[in-house]
Symmetry: C2
Subunit: 266 residues, 2 copies
Amino acid sequence: MTHPFDEALQLQRLDEHTLQGQTSPVYDNMVGPFGGILAATMLHALQQETQSQGEPVSVNVNYAGPVAATPFEIRTQCLRSNRSTTHAQAQLIQDGQVAVYASAVFARRHETWTAQEQARPEVPAAAQCPRQRLDVGPRWLGAYDMRFIEGELKLDGQPREDTSSLLWVRDEPPRALDFAALLAMSDIFFPRSFIRQQQLGIAGTIALSTHFHATAETLARTGSQHLLARARGQGFRRGYFDQSAQLWNADGELLASSLQSVYYKG
Amino acid sequence: MTHPFDEALQLQRLDEHTLQGQTSPVYDNMVGPFGGILAATMLHALQQETQSQGEPVSVNVNYAGPVAATPFEIRTQCLRSNRSTTHAQAQLIQDGQVAVYASAVFARRHETWTAQEQARPEVPAAAQCPRQRLDVGPRWLGAYDMRFIEGELKLDGQPREDTSSLLWVRDEPPRALDFAALLAMSDIFFPRSFIRQQQLGIAGTIALSTHFHATAETLARTGSQHLLARARGQGFRRGYFDQSAQLWNADGELLASSLQSVYYKG
């Protein structure tokens, strides 16, 4: 049986640089699909364009318009490639309009000294934290097992001064981690504006940039275990806020960091 | 007299979507120009493509290859535009190859509630901090007035556990802040790998994403005062590290936040 994540990422080749796909209802958000699944789909397309030319290090995804539940095309282009890095970009086109566009840098990584400054926060193991069960909310929430430690969306209307959230997360059902899934999880967080106000408003990501600290080896070692995910808004002003995030595996290895720009209202 | 920053950003129009420019020796780095001036040049080109369709909110710049001291072309394209946002991208092409490419989201911002979670660190005023004078180093350093509070590049070969740097910075000579200058300053930091090892190595940014909290009003209020800039590496692994940064004005307003992906060796 194909995992719902892989099913959502299925793309059909139309020509050398064009793929066709369609959103999966499993990842439906309030309007259109969960941004993380679109990011993963863009990376999946870029990985096909640049096949076996290294691992993704940096991915940028911009959201320019809604994506409907009808087929879309993704056009990919390799911009530059040498022995160590490959740069590529992609556009998701629906009804003749660019809805999502992305770029990625792939690298053949080399041995260097290693250091980690963002230590994984000390928290109880995932097995000791109860899984969040939301009776309401968009369908994509069911595609993840989320276990909040702090910064839940309580919707009690009591504004919070600090929008930090910390949670364990993995695919539901479990699935061995790969770069596409890790990218999707870097977008797993509720909008920081909702957390700040503790009420639902309008919000939509316009840009997501994710840096992968994980290599293929780290991913293999991590497998289908829960990741610890942390996000925080740094500033909210005149319709846009940013969100800084980090993801670690249970062993404390930093797997990814990201910065988002998000539209908000209310 | 034209400010060296504006001189470096001068572009000649070749056709509706193509501009021609050339690097300025004032911003020379070890190899090629300072990445921040290239980012500013890309934003300047994108602002011309999307003129009067809002202020930049999110900019992503990727560095794919070296830029030589010969003329280059920048090709710009508007991807999508509606009443509130405009998405555009650009490529800097030299010798038939893409050397830098960028995307930006511009928005007509609206009134909302406002909040700032990243408070400006409490530090002595810029006037009370001595200006850093480097006898060696690339020429672009002379284009900025930098006053370090912590995390200097001492080159004493004593590795540090924490790569946080904090400094006051402004253009030298002073210049009223605009989005292009703010973007350049979000790339002002020495590579975190140099700070970590306290020795020179090889490093080069492959991706820079900057979120603007500043609006045109904030910029006007800030003028040519020093900005407080902070950067920190979160993880260094197999040839790539990331860098998270924030910039505030003297009044404590968060102006920009950014995430970089950087290649390193040694």
